[in-house]
């Protein structure tokens, strides 16, 4: 498959701004499952403070890319740079303290925990009391709990879902559950946010709200957005990378990528109209 002209141009661009705190860059990443190539020499970047869309047909390797960056998959070749620092071999549980948050396609909310508790787990902080302190019920442990509760409530209020704090996620409308999963990711104040299909299953109004939210976050963090809904991508992204069969086939501003011949061949016409039904199939249970 041809790498388009803009793709090649954007792929080689590495300015100093690209390596700022919270930026993500992958270089020549390759992942194979046996004979199946999931990612083939993928290079792309999410510059600090930008919203970058990653699009492509089903099975193009978008989620595999996220899985590599978050340490669930080991790449056979290539480098992952976060804020200019190599993070190959990072373990998933280390992301939180590195300042990387990721949402899941199926949301992955804990159904046996209230909304508030879900967000409190996301709000872990480096200085936390140890096991003995928690066991013996020391006031240090109580204060820590109070801090977490405060952080979580603030985040819920910020997203306008504080009234659901004491409910269980399973009984809430899907749109609210999405907001809860966003709250859980945002409460840790990440420098890099990886969003896996945040718009799937949302109504048009909710997608507009999501776009507004993402734009308001841009000052605080870099965002990588895997998404099928092109309306959201066009609305918020500065730059888009298009994956197909594990390769980057185009990169650039969304309006240019949209007109790219390779992209229309590979992509358009197939996934333009994902429906609410598909989004609900994504949700667990």
């Amino acid at each position: 498959m041809d790498v388009s002209a803009i793709g090649a141009a954007a792929g080689s661009r590495t300015g100093p701004g690209a390596l700022g705190p919270g930026s993500l860059e992958v270089r020549s990443l390759s992942v194979r499952f046996g004979g199946l190539v999931a990612l083939d020499d993928v290079s792309l970047e999410v510059p600090a403070g930008e919203i970058v869309g990653i699009i492509g047909p089903n099975g193009a390797g978008k989620t595999s890319l996220f899985n590599v960056v978050s340490g669930f998959l080991r790449p056979q070749a290539g480098e992952i740079l976060y804020g200019g620092r190599r993070i190959n071999g990072v373990r998933p549980h280390e992301l939180n303290s590195l300042g990387i948050a990721r949402t899941l396609q199926g949301l992955g909310l804990w159904r046996g925990l209230t909304v508030l508790e879900n967000v409190m787990v996301g709000a872990r902080r480096a200085k936390r009391p140890g096991f003995a302190s928690a066991l013996l019920g020391f006031s240090r442990s109580d204060r820590y709990e109070a801090v977490l509760t405060g952080l979580a409530r603030d985040q819920l209020r910020l997203l306008g879902i504080e009234r659901f704090a004491d409910r269980y996620p399973g009984v809430l409308p899907y749109g609210v559950q999405k907001w809860v999963s966003l709250a859980r990711a945002l409460v840790s104040r990440p420098a890099l946010l990886l969003l896996d299909e945040p718009a799937s299953g949302l109504t048009a109004t909710e997608i507009k709200e999501l776009a507004d939210l993402l734009r308001s976050l841009r000052a605080q963090m870099s965002i990588a957005l895997v998404e099928h809904r092109l309306d959201l991508i066009m609305n918020v992204c500065e730059r888009v990378h298009v994956l197909d069969f594990g390769r980057v086939i185009a990169s650039g501003p969304p309006e240019r990528v949209q007109k790219d011949k390779a992209v229309t061949d590979a992509y358009l016409g197939e996934e333009l109209t994902p429906t609410v039904v598909e989004g609900e199939a994504d949700a667990r249970g």
Partner: protein, 334 residues
């Protein structure tokens, strides 16, 4: 607050039983060790989602540690003995827990089942240390001279309540902090847990060790109660009975562990005494208690799918909702 409440109730219970019914007193000691063991298991299985069929064997480690320690130092303070038993079992649980953290569902059940079946064999194999099939005796706890008017069994119940209350206070503290949330988060979704900074395997081992420590303490108390650590005291049925107590009491709730302990101790004896009052052919009479016990469990689980504690909570909310409209919906969330 919760701890003070437990202490008050415990003191009340002891005061109420002081008027000496040796059998009742013995049963209350049994409730103590069952409650401790069930509390540990409910944290592991109910909160963290790891099924263990081997906690009876872990109780055996606690009881044998108690016996071996007391053989060497007959007059050692029971607090020290129980502490040692708890610690030794906790250390043993690190090994089991590390293996368990790699296993899921039926595989974990199978592995812990192997523990329950295999561990009593170890006691038989090393009979010079553990006394073989006959087991090792554990000297009875006797009250100090100043309190010599108290019968040893009653004294044992007094003593047994102390570790029970301590265990419940500590676990209640723990489950309402981030550890409790992390345990539950892992039960629900491991991938999401890791992405939110929880060290999944390490936390699973921690849960296993915590619950193993409880089993060790329970086993030590069982040893003191029965004055014996023998392979026959820790059959597979003990593990299953613990699990039954946890489930019927209300999986994942600490009060449920107490309910469950009360059920597995008192219901069989009620059934037995009931059985003795009716005249049935001996072939039927001998098997009836077990069958009735099973039937009670089935009926109870049908009536209270979330265990006794679940039923209590529901009843509480139902009462509340009649006073305050709108609370009904909250109850439905559970």
């Amino acid at each position: 607050m919760l701890g003070v409440g437990f202490l008050l109730v415990a003191a009340l219970v002891v005061w109420a039983i002081d008027p000496f019914d040796p059998f009742l007193v013995y049963q209350l000691s049994s409730v103590c060790y069952f409650a401790i063991g069930a509390a540990g298991l409910t944290v592991l299985t109910g909160l963290n989602g790891q099924l263990s069929l081997g906690h009876g064997a872990l109780m055996g480690i606690g009881a044998y540690t108690t016996a071996v320690v007391l053989k060497a130092h007959t007059d050692l303070n029971p607090a020290l003995v129980m502490g040692t038993a708890t610690l030794v079992t906790a250390v043993a649980s690190i090994i089991v827990g590390a293996a368990a953290a790699r296993l899921r569902g039926p595989y974990l059940a199978g592995a812990t089942l192997g523990l329950a079946v295999g561990l009593p064999g170890v006691a038989v194999r090393f009979s010079n240390i553990f006394g073989g099939d006959a087991g090792t005796s554990i000297p009875a706890l006797v009250p100090p001279d100043a309190l010599s008017s108290i019968a040893p069994e009653v004294w044992l119940t007094w003593i047994g309540l102390i570790p029970t209350v301590i265990t419940f206070v500590l676990l209640a503290n723990l489950v309402r902090t981030r550890y409790g949330r992390d345990f539950r988060a892992i039960r629900e979704d491991e991938v999401a847990s890791a992405l939110n900074g929880i060290r999944v395997a390490r936390t699973q081992v921690l849960a296993f060790v915590l619950s193993g420590a409880c089993a060790g303490l329970a086993g030590s108390l069982l040893g003191y109660t029965s004055n014996l650590a023998a392979p026959g005291s820790f059959p597979l049925t003990l593990s299953l009975l613990l699990l039954a107590a946890v489930v019927i009491g209300g999986l994942g709730t600490l009060p449920g562990a107490v309910w469950g302990a009360l059920v597995v101790v008192f219901v069989p004896s009620w059934i037995s005494s009931l059985n003795d009052t009716v005249h049935l052919p001996s072939a039927v009479r001998d098997q009836l208690p077990l069958a009735l016990f099973g039937a009670v469990f089935v009926v109870a689980m049908l009536a209270f799918p979330h265990g006794i504690q679940g039923g209590v909570v529901r009843l509480w909310q139902f009462r509340a909702s009649r006073r305050r409209p709108g609370a009904q919906e909250q109850a439905a969330d559970l």
